[in-house]
């Protein structure tokens, strides 16, 4: 009984620590005061209205959306190739190569960012949203592989053989059988890599040059105390968007598992 009690306290404490700050976000976003402190001083939507009047924010948002879309598509495309290769074929040094591809998942991102910056400057590539996309693809691809490997793994090899046996070529088999069956995984990968890229700060900070992305813009705004409630409003919107994206991704991942009759072997949610 006592044991169960402490476990409950621990769980509750952990969840409060995790989510209470996020819950404060909308609270102050609708609070009619520039100071982030209790007591609250009345409801307002003016901080959200102010979001509309920031051209710099709009530019950062546009950059972020372009970067996230491109990174998601590129990382997922590379992820498809890598997971297909690692689940279907065996080749010398496979474990080592896959390990190296997955390494950015645990490598300190700042090291990666600095190294990339040095290379970009070295080869004379001007910093732009393009260089940020390159960095984000590096960060996002391991996540894409993690998701897609599970999707390719659960694919019964005899499904492909059955398609060949029934007269299809390897290419039409990929299109008619493999692609539809891993499609939920692909959608899930697109959404998650999009979210990761959208939130990413370090790479964007080092590699964007004169351009701002949303996270970089947000950090910059904290220099101006009067803008903090506006950031709270922006944060509220971003949190809702992130949750919606991740939930959609998880929905597709689970539907994919149900469709192929496989077992749930984990995921990000």
């Amino acid at each position: 009984m006592m044991k169960g009690g402490w476990f409950r306290v621990y769980t509750l404490g952990y969840l409060i620590f995790l989510y209470a700050p996020i819950l404060l976000l909308p609270l102050f976003a609708f609070n009619d005061a520039t100071v982030i402190a209790f007591p609250l001083s009345g409801a307002t939507t003016k901080w959200f209205e102010k979001l509309w009047l920031e051209p710099e924010l709009h530019r950062a948002l546009k950059n972020s959306l372009i970067i996230a879309s491109c990174s998601a598509v590129l990382a997922t495309t590379l992820g498809i190739f890598a997971s297909r290769a690692s689940t279907r074929y065996s080749f010398p040094g496979k474990a080592g190569i896959m390990g190296m591809i997955m390494l950015p998942l645990v490598l300190p991102e700042i090291i990666l960012a600095v190294a990339l910056l040095a290379v970009m400057l070295g080869i004379g590539l001007p910093l732009s949203i393009f260089t940020v996309i390159l960095g984000h693809v590096l960060v996002c691809t391991p996540f894409s592989i993690a998701i897609l490997s599970a999707a390719f793994q659960s694919l019964d090899k005899s499904l492909e053989e059955a398609a060949y046996d029934l007269g299809e070529t390897p290419i039409s088999t990929f299109r008619l059988i493999i692609l539809p069956l891993v499609m939920p995984g692909i959608i899930s990968s697109l959404l998650i890599t999009f979210t990761i890229s959208l939130d990413e700060f370090i790479m964007a900070f080092f590699l964007a040059g004169n351009e701002n992305t949303l996270p970089v813009y947000i950090l910059g705004q904290f220099r101006f105390p009067q803008n903090v409630p506006v950031i709270m409003a922006l944060g509220t919107i971003l949190v809702c968007l992130s949750i919606a994206l991740l939930a959609t991704a998880e929905y597709f991942r689970r539907r994919g598992i149900a469709k192929t009759g496989g077992k749930d072997t984990g995921g990000f949610l």
Binding site: D156, S158, E161, Y164, D165, L166, G167, K259, T260
Partner: protein, 367 residues
Amino acid sequence: MTLAADKPTMIEFKDVHKYYGDYHALRGITATIKAGEFFSLLGPSGCGKTTLLRTIAGFEGISSGAVMIDGKNMEGVPANVRPTNMVFQSYAIFPHLTVAENVGFGLRKDPRSKAEKAAAVAEALEMVGLKGYGARAAHALSGGQRQRVALARALILKPKVLLLDEPLSALDKKMREQMQVELIKLQRQVGITFILVTHDQEEALVMSDRIAVMFEGEIAQLADPETLYRRPNSRKVADFIGTMNFLPAQILSEHGGKVEVDAQGFGRLTLNADQVSSAPGGTGASIGFRPETLTILFDGQTATDRESMATVEEVVYYGDMTYYDIKLDGTTEAMRLSMRNVFGRPVLDIGTRARVAWAPGALVLFR
């Protein structure tokens, strides 16, 4: 059993070898399969039977030799243009398609009209007993239904050869027995050559016109079910198919194909050439017999041929059958006997002395 001897050859293996690196998976397979035959590849797991089947389908290349289908060498012919279709062990039903889309999958490049194709799909579904299932989602089917869809999907293309890779192993016993009968009927109906891979000797005996028993990449014996059961050509085949009792024997003389032996429990016998297995066993000669070839005599019954005395050592009652472990006088090991239970006949107790009838013709000599 149908006589297929006069039919044309459909498949021919010419000294087929297959290596996986250093592993010698197929070791010189030479055999022919006739058109319209129900042929089984039987053997324990790892004997190469599935590999051999996959060389016909084109999923597996061969290291040397030749695989001919209908007179054509299949070397370099990919799986998607071979005149064969396969029913996979896992059935490989496309989970994202409906039953009808699965069955009609191979008709994609067929020039017929949509309506004609739909009619062909409906016909194929009816043939396998799934009439009206077309619109169902494939992933919601039961094991038996998946199997039928897989059959319909393969047969709709009217292949020259249908390959079946352990198709019944995932089904429960009752379903399996039902499907065995259905497959036999289906094969007779369509007249296509069926090649079945199985590790279940009973399944092979029930379904096949001829069976190739495989061990370690080689065909140990290729014969019709009755010959395989009655006259196995080695102790290994005899052990794999059904139950075979063995008693030590000594070969006294051989002349003109006839062999005179002195067998423990049976005494001096003269056996015909067809009762002598060709493959040498190694550990000396022995006499083998099936459990049902020895019969316990009850009061008033007399033997039509030979009679011996024995002691009942163990009794296992199965309802329709009783299994007795008996020791023939003059032997040291108990032999398994099976007796059909007839109404009014008692089940003998352990320790009972019994008269046993037998015939020399039912015995097989293994060298």
